[in-house]
């Protein structure tokens, strides 16, 4: 090998005879590589980037330790970046929330800019707090009202919705909460089984639904007038001040089939909703009010 290296003829061989250009001495199956030197500055930049890379070790978290990693000269961490951005966002929202807290729901609804913010904020707050029962878009379920339709137990005006959100429904110890108490006619023994059946058939009749052939509709009508009309009205159209639902429209919370109606009349229904007044700030409650009002049924 050394012999080879010392032989001057070898160097003479390292010139390509066709181009007269020096080769690198690399040869594969008779194919030689011409030496086309890169400019020296190119090499310089390569070394410079290597030296530059040391800077990252110093500036950024770089070296893993047993339980941790080196912190970097300026204590940089992506986590602190997020904290900074979150705080900026909070500051931005605080300004918006202030505007929201001062305005009434009517004013928010009338101001396009505030309305847009309220809808966005309301949607987020709804997802966090309300969707568990009412569904993501307020679609509701049996026993949990659909907030998109135009039927309201306690009123669908901005004020009524806000009142419901603030104080909830049947919240113990809250003076302003929504309370109604339908008697459990079957459980309390007020009505007998066949009387309950008659009332249920009568309710289906005023709702425009089919009744059972053997139903005693006259008895049902009389019992309804005696026991139910005080809250639901003579015509069964309900009373929002008392939280008594309209029994004649196409919307039902617990079902209008005979089984559901019998269950409702026998045992009553007492849905509950928490009071959000103490849990959510004023601006969020207003945003929720406007959002729910805008889902489609606002009055």
């Amino acid at each position: 090998m050394d012999q080879h290296h010392d032989d001057p003829k070898v160097h003479a061989l390292h010139v390509d005879p066709v181009t007269g250009q020096a080769t690198t001495g690399h040869e594969w199956d008779g194919i030689q590589e011409l030496n086309t030197p890169l400019p020296r500055w190119w090499l310089g930049i390569f070394y410079a980037t290597i030296i530059w890379s040391f800077g990252y070790w110093i500036v950024y978290p770089a070296w893993p330790l047993l339980t941790d990693a080196t912190k970097g000269a300026f204590g940089y961490a992506t986590r602190s970046d997020i904290t900074v951005q979150m705080n900026e966002l909070k500051a931005q929202r605080a300004a918006l929330a202030a505007g929201m807290a001062e305005a009434t729901p009517e004013q928010i609804k009338a101001d396009p800019a505030l309305f847009q913010i309220a809808m966005a904020q309301g949607k987020a707050a709804f997802g966090d707090n309300c969707a568990a029962c009412h569904g993501v878009g307020g679609a509701g379920a049996k026993g949990y009202p659909n907030l998109n339709d135009d039927d309201w137990l306690w009123g669908g005006s901005l004020d009524a919705i806000r009142q419901t959100i603030l104080h909830g429904i049947r919240v113990a110890g809250n003076d302003e909460t929504r309370v109604s108490q339908m008697p459990a006619f079957g459980r309390d023994g007020t009505l007998k089984r066949e009387e309950i059946n008659a009332v249920a058939n009568h309710v289906r009749e005023i709702a425009g639904l089919s009744t059972e052939p053997k139903a005693n509709l006259a008895l049902g009508r009389k019992l309804f007038a005696d026991n139910c009309a005080a809250c639901h009205g003579e015509d069964g159209k309900g009373n929002k001040d008392m939280g008594a639902p309209n029994l004649t429209d196409a919307i039902t919370l617990y079902g209008m089939d005979m089984a559901s109606l019998t269950e409702t009349i026998s045992n009553s229904r007492n849905g509950v909703m928490p009071a959000w007044g103490g849990r959510l700030d004023e601006a969020t409650v207003k945003a929720l009010t406007v959002y729910v009002h805008s889902l489609g049924g606002g009055q």
Partner: protein, 484 residues
């Protein structure tokens, strides 16, 4: 045994670059390059100050990349982020134009139009102003440091830095209102990013045009490699006509040979073509990767040929094919109309035409409809069925526009927009601010008694109350249908 490991030690794999001292030259190509330089740099430095009235709501700068508001303005064209395909189209068009230029007349871009060439030319002119022409500069570089050398070098670098700084300064003006930004820059109240970008572009301009020069073209730019693969025998290139130039002999010997009736080449080996070359090559070695085809060697050679009374254009825009034809005693032919030039022209016409058509038929309003999924539909107390949609209306015009919303597709179907004030019009009116978009929740209701399938198509239409532009989107109306 591997020869690779043992024998490479003393072969230089990296070479120090040789400084090029291009000599000044005069002639038609040099003149053309000066004119192009003035036009290009004049456009670049002054364009941000050109105004273009777009009404009270939009900026009045003719060319502006408004990054903060996601808009790009080019005279009468305003590009929104979702229309970024216009830039894609422009890039495709630029590539085809580059290919066409190359198929017709070689590296026209490199020699005359490329910013690297234009700024290097300007920097060379400055260098010449302070340090003299080729020979003086070579002497100055070899000379020991003296006051004369010091002030010349200092002055040159200072002027370079000023030009470079101005280049960066003009760059940032394309991203903000130019007169305002100039005032802010002068009073040091401009945003930090503006100073940072000026700094970056000052550095790159100074380094690339002052220091790196031909190294950029030779080692950094991919185009020479692509160009070499795209050219053919019939493309015009800056060519040394060796059929006429060889054999090289001195002027006197050539006269003697010609007197004897013996052949003599026109090239007198004066090296003027090499001296003026900004990349420091010898064009007589034929087409090569390093040659940017600026045509300055044509000017240099023509001057010599005129002096010695021989026909000019020994170096000229010619084709490899013609040199071979003349050597074979045939007539030169020029074929600008070839399969590839026609194909490139066709592609340019198709792409350019499609873009123009797109631009001419471009809407200034748009609508997109998203069906609410939770709930898909709602039954109202009177038994009617309602669906909710999120409708986004786009207004690309510089004034506020009221849009009337209508819906069709089903009997008795009606539409309301949540949060819009009621007007005399029975249709809901949604007013969209100038040059922006607005999202509204839209409720579509079909009365009870209409037979509905689980899903049926409906069309939501937005009509501009004044300009009359109408946009529509089709979505589905969902109902309990066959599964009650």
């Amino acid at each position: 045994m591997s020869t690779a490991e043992t024998d490479t030690d003393d072969i230089p794999l990296f070479a120090a670059s040789r400084k090029v001292y291009p000599q000044s030259v005069s002639g038609p190509f040099r003149r053309a390059k000066w004119i192009i330089l003035l036009l290009c740099l004049g456009t670049y430095y002054l364009l941000p100050f050109l105004r273009w009235d777009r009404g009270p709501h939009l900026p009045n700068q003719a060319v502006l990349a408004d990054l903060a508001n996601n808009r790009f303005y080019f005279f009468f064209i305003e590009i929104w982020p979702q229309e970024v395909y216009y830039f894609t189209g422009l890039l495709i068009l630029a590539a085809f134009i580059l290919f066409l230029m190359n198929a017709l007349a070689g590296r026209v871009w490199c020699g005359y139009l490329c910013p690297q060439t234009v700024w290097t030319d300007l920097f060379l002119a400055v260098e010449r102003l302070f340090e003299g022409d080729r020979r003086e500069r070579m002497r100055l570089d070899e000379a020991p440091w003296s006051f004369d050398k010091l002030w010349r070098k200092t002055a040159k670098h200072t002027v370079w830095l000023v030009i470079a700084w101005w280049t960066g300064g003009a760059w940032v003006l394309y991203f903000a209102d130019a007169p305002t930004l100039v005032r802010e820059l002068a009073t040091f109240t401009a945003p930090l990013s503006a100073y940072a970008w000026i700094g970056i572009l000052t550095f790159t301009t100074y380094t690339l045009a002052g220091i790196m020069r031909e190294q950029v073209c030779k080692f950094m730019c991919p185009w020479p490699r692509i160009q070499a693969a795209l050219t053919d025998d019939e493309a015009l290139n800056v060519t040394y006509r060796y059929d006429r130039g060889e054999p090289r002999v001195s002027f006197k010997q050539a006269q003697r040979l010609r007197a004897q009736g013996a052949p003599a080449g026109d090239c007198v080996d004066c090296h003027q073509c090499v001296a003026v070359c900004p990349v420091g090559i010898d064009i007589r070695e034929g087409s090569q990767l390093d040659c940017i085809q600026c045509g300055l060697c044509i000017d240099a050679c023509d001057n010599v040929m005129t002096k010695i009374g021989r026909p000019d254009r020994l170096i000229a825009y010619d084709t490899d094919g013609n040199v071979k034809r003349r050597l074979a005693g045939l007539k030169a032919i020029y074929r600008p109309l070839r399969a590839r030039t026609l194909a490139y022209t066709g592609l340019i016409v198709i792409v350019g035409g499609a873009m123009l058509w797109q631009l001419a038929t471009r809407r200034t309003a748009d609508i997109s409809v998203l069906h609410e999924r939770a709930p898909l539909f709602v039954k109202l107390s009177d038994g009617s069925i309602r669906n909710a949609y999120t409708v986004r209306l786009l207004n690309k015009r510089p004034e506020p526009r009221p849009f009337a919303l209508t819906v069709d597709g089903l009997p008795g179907i009606r539409i309301e927009a949540v949060g819009t004030a009621p007007t005399a019009d029975i249709r809901p009116i949604v007013t969209v601010d100038p040059d922006s978009s607005r999202e509204v929740r839209v409720l579509v209701t079909v009365p009870a008694g209409i037979t509905l399938a689980a899903s049926q198509p409906v069309t939501i239409t937005a009509s501009d109350l004044f300009a009359g532009e109408t946009v529509r989107a089709t979505d589905h109306f969902m109902a309990p249908g066959s599964h009650p």
